[in-house]
Symmetry: C2
Subunit: 700 residues, 2 copies
């Protein structure tokens, strides 16, 4: 169907819309009433937006939710998920049967209708719920598409041409993460992105003017967005369609469509905060049915003519996909090399030889692990276009800028510093926007699994700013690699504000996330290999700013994958010392001192608790020898969690201190001779005091 | 000195300014060169702003950095701390001697010049470093002042009249936390707040237009700020003074002063990114001395006439304080009741009887701990004006809205929902701005220790959004109470996006932070008592949405302060079960089942690891009986960290699931009979298998 035909279609169906909207709103009220819980108000208020999107604007294929060139839709106000579930049912997604739709808030274990959209289910692009994540994901999806377009499209062969639409509510636009992403999207001129604002001026506390009275349109304009306002957004489907179409045709800016709606429209609490997150009650649902001319006894019912209204969409989607496949085939014939590369990206594969790009050997002189990381990932990033790397304004610090890198940049911008780029670039200046960076990277990764491996970077401490988005990556099983430099107190002068102490405890506790702290260049190489092979999870590679002793005789690149391994083995050792990351040097040196004193000491390298936990019990026991020998972990973080592996620790109990790096270490007792003394005493106590054996000992 | 006199003064000294600025810039370059590290460029570029502030505008007293009615100055771009340190030296703060100034980036252990400003040192209002924290703190400081003004000031008796000034750089204005705080400050019409933008258009990566090309002035205007632009901000002290004075006189809005400056001004890398965070090198520092007409051999030197320029400030400060004390005295005579209350607030004390406001008894019927919390804190908040509570848009959920509460609100706003307020209100609608909320609360707490006890609130999961600010509270020893409701998987339908699994591991690992999970109303009361008594740290009180069984026979309000205590004691028990928070019911029930099966089982309640860690070793050992009996912890979070206290656990290993609360628990094995079975088997193994005894066992 051409656009003109579709618009004609729109004229014909004009009288149908009010009816469709009523059916939809009542359906939502019914579904929430069913188990007496959920979020009805927003979904009801957005009904007209939904009709505009799914019936008239979105390019997608219900028979194949994964159709590559589909428009991406993100529901950033994820609590309104019934909106999306109900439209997915109406437009004919096979998985979203009426029975499934009824599982919302039920005890059904295999529901496609959780309380917030989850990307493990068909046709859900990204998991949303915590507000603002979705907006940033949408920016990532738009970046991904823009980059593919610039990389692969040729005149007459627009193999990638999809648009990204993102729904937001009033609350999303208050979250900092959204404001970061909006600022960046405007700068980048992402004309393939439309944010649709469900402007109902109500949040949980009451009217939005309790806490926000800014001029939203002006704010978006100041951020380089096009702004379109829709006054009667609860009803006027055609105006919304026109705005959405216009936004698709924007030449140089993302579009913000400010759609005025009414929360809980039709109900007796329309426009009020309590329409947001609870059922209306049986009587009110009955009343709503009656007012709209429906039978109150006929709950959760969709009349056949409503299905008819949406019935063309499946075949439309089939045609879209057939046409796209045909286009891609012809593209491959005309551009065989690009075509093959594009096919690989669509399949989500890396070139097989990627690992051969990693150097085999590294300098044996002291090397900061952030520098090792650069040596490893730069050649890969340079050669393989699946990598899209970026930084929260720390290019000089994080070593991700590969040779001849081109920035992913708005080509219309000529920067003052003279570093320019275009949309084919794969180096992103995210700005000082750590949270949005991680969420945008999630969006890039979610575009199509494996098509991109996004890498973000900042100081480890600032991954606390990004933590909610890192968590969403873990929850959503997205491959994103976070390059966290300046770990440990070794960063020195920047002081306690910048020295991470407790943060690793979070990331080690987080399901489906691999926090790796390599101790030297070989282990950094191992960490990168693991990260690149981990297709269904994010990885944090934790790196030092300061130079680290290299252990070419001890460190084993391949064994990083086991999480922990024997680093230095003494026969019949009486003691294990666990070394981690930049504190390995203290483990090795204090072990040497202890061996010299006759205490046979082995050293274990322990870059990843996550990976170690996955090893067979036998391997774990043979390494740790729990009960046979004491095991002391040395790490300049709080001990929390190490109690599972070690019997004692040299760790941090307070925040850090601003001193030169070596002095900071010394100030907190990280000095090999001091450590050796403490451990020697501990070993003596361990051998004589049963209670000491049984309790984790903080030796610092 | 009157304002007119001061302006006259300004005329006289006009010719001096360029000289002062040069001395200052060279001083900064010298200080950074000294130990070859630090951040020179920003501090140099801001020199004129500093002269305007400290010489002409700020009301403060070098002889008493804690003078109550002082203007508050916040350096949100904390890496430029030399700016503040150097001016503190020049204006005569006693602690900031020349020797101290020289300790920047040194190995000196007792330095007042850490790499970022730290509030433990005199004249530093708040600790800054991670970008954007300071802006939000400044909003908090302005709110605190506004609230005191509205509460205490009387015509002719403006006992509180200070202003808050906050310096920000380009990077601060990219951070989401800043954008949240800016939005709220504009809404609230905080006319006692001035943000000074060091607009040098350079960050670490290069020129700001690499990542941000928005119209900053328009953005602030859209957010209801006054905007003043200063073109020649590196030099024009008088223009800056005029703008700062004007901002102090703003009637209804905060002011944004956009000051165009040049980073590293005077150096050969002026205006470039590498002027940001490294020394210039000996040769360049020499050159700078020469160009400015100073002797290159005379490093870190302040000519006497420069000291002369600033020499009036100490006595000016003394006079300010004397006048203020006199005013407060007369105020107390005229308004004895208010005066006494004000004196208490200035001293930072609570009325002695605050604890008597907590109910002694609670309903024994099942009660959600968020509801218990309301019963406890609402009477205190209502009666005692030191409490200033707020929420990130979750008023209906968090139970902090006390009877007859008045909103802290812009009195010029009449809201659509009809809930209005004024600046004397103590209930803050922070909006959906969790990160800014926590940082603003830090600012309120930092206004003057004990004058306010700010309480924030949102769902526990969203304290991950707020985590960096919560951490700054811990680092800065600020009393803020975070009310975190909807903890555990028990929240049910909202699903894995909202169910915290790993977050408590972070807060339990964080130094100087008390994360408390009370199990019933009495323990909630104990938690609040501890939190209110904890003057030098933040507390997170972790509460359930769902109703919890009450244990009036077992739970002990007073023993919450010990962190863990015997909840149910069996003589000669063979097993401990640790119950925590909303999972206590599983501990008690499974213990009962096990006791029925002949396995004598005691139950320990363990609301706070932080508090337990502070107990004497003897108490810890007598409770846990490590080595004598196995101890199983039951908690629906990841086990990380519990290995220190327990030998096995029924915990979570994955993210949660969207199901009704009881079903979510059941789905993940939290069912007393299942738990009892698992523990029974574990106890049998523990008695026979030495290795099992030695390793923490995940029973789930």
């Amino acid at each position: 169907m051409t656009q003109t035909e579709r618009h004609k279609d729109l004229e014909n169906y004009k009288i149908l819309h009010p009816y469709i909207l009523k059916v939809f709103r009542v359906l939502i009220a019914d579904l929430v009433q069913q188990f007496n819980g959920g979020h009805p108000g927003g979904a009801m208020g957005m009904a007209a937006i939904g009709v505009a999107l799914w019936k008239y604007v979105l390019n997608f294929s219900p028979n194949n939710p994964d159709y590559f060139n589909r428009d991406r839709f993100v529901l950033s106000n994820g609590h309104a998920c019934l909106f999306q579930y109900a439209f997915h049912h109406l437009v004919g997604y096979k998985h979203m049967t009426m029975d499934q739709l009824k599982t919302y808030h039920s005890t059904h274990l295999e529901s496609y209708c959780p309380g917030h959209p989850e990307n493990e289910h068909p046709a859900i692009e990204v998991t949303t719920g915590a507000l603002g994540q979705g907006v940033s994901n949408a920016v990532g999806l738009a970046i991904a598409s823009k980059n593919l377009q610039a990389t692969y499209n040729k005149p007459g062969y627009e193999v990638v041409s999809n648009h990204t639409f993102c729904m937001v509510g009033d609350a999303c636009l208050q979250e900092g993460i959204s404001l970061e992403a909006i600022s960046l999207a405007g700068h980048l001129g992402l004309n393939n992105l439309t944010v649709i604002y469900d402007n109902n001026q109500v949040t949980c506390d009451g009217s939005v003017d309790l806490t926000n009275t800014e001029n939203m349109n002006d704010k978006f304009k100041a951020c380089n967005w096009k702004v379109i306002e829709i006054e009667n957004g609860s009803e006027d489907v055609m105006a919304i369609v026109a705005a959405l179409q216009k936004s698709k045709e924007s030449s140089d800016k993302p579009t913000f469509i400010n759609v005025h709606t009414s929360i809980g429209i039709g109900s007796n609490i329309e426009g009020q905060a309590n329409a947001h997150g609870a059922s209306f009650g049986e009587a009110e649902v009955d009343r709503l049915h009656q007012v709209y001319g429906f039978d109150p006894k006929n709950r959760i019912h969709i009349p056949e003519d409503v299905y008819q209204f949406f019935c063309d969409i499946s075949s439309r989607g089939d045609i879209l996909e057939v046409e796209w496949k045909s286009l891609v085939k012809r593209y491959g014939e005309n551009y065989p090399e690009l075509g093959a590369d594009f096919a690989r990206r669509v399949k989500g594969e890396l070139p097989e030889d990627w690992a051969s790009l990693i150097p085999k050997e590294f300098p044996t002189s002291d090397t900061a692990s952030r520098a090792s990381s650069g040596m490893i990932i730069n050649p890969i990033s340079s050669a393989i276009n699946s990598l899209i790397v970026g930084t929260a304004d720390l290019s000089p610090s994080v070593n991700l800028a590969y040779k001849d890198k081109l920035d992913f940049q708005n080509p219309r911008i000529k920067t003052t510093c003279g570093i320019n780029g275009d949309y084919s670039g794969r180096y992103i200046h995210y700005g000082v926007r750590e949270h949005a960076m991680a969420a945008i990277a999630n969006g890039i990764a979610a575009f199509n699994r494996g098509t991109f491996i996004p890498c973000t970077s900042t100081f480890l401490m600032f991954y606390l700013y990004a933590a909610p988005a890192v968590r969403y990556g873990a929850l959503s099983k997205l491959q994103v690699i976070h390059v966290a430099t300046h770990d440990s107190i070794g960063i020195g002068e920047d002081g306690p504000t910048h020295q991470p102490i407790a943060l690793p405890a979070l990331y080690r506790a987080m399901p489906n996330l691999n926090y790796i702290r390599p101790c030297d260049s070989q282990e950094v190489a191992g960490a990168w290999e693991v990260a690149i092979r981990s297709k269904e999870m994010p990885t944090i590679i934790s790196l030092s700013r300061h130079k680290l002793t290299q252990f070419p005789q001890n460190s084993k690149r391949d064994l990083v994958a086991k999480g922990a391994y024997s680093f230095h083995k003494e026969e019949d050792s009486m003691l294990n010392i666990i070394g981690v990351g930049s504190e390995m040097v203290f483990a090795v040196e204090s072990a040497k001192l202890l061996n010299d004193r006759g205490i046979k000491t082995s050293v274990i390298s322990f870059p990843s608790q996550y990976l170690f936990n996955k090893q067979p019990l036998e391997y774990k026991r043979s390494l740790l020898k729990r009960g046979k020998v004491p095991t002391v972990v040395i790490e300049a973080y709080t001990a929390n969690g190490w109690e599972r592996y070690a019997t004692a620790g040299i760790n941090m109990k307070t925040f850090g201190k601003s001193l030169p790096g070596p002095d900071t270490y010394r100030y907190f007792g990280f000095e090999s001779s001091t450590i050796a003394d403490k451990i020697e005493q501990y070993v003596a106590e361990w051998q004589t005091d049963d209670q000491i054996r049984l309790e984790f000992q903080d030796l610092n």
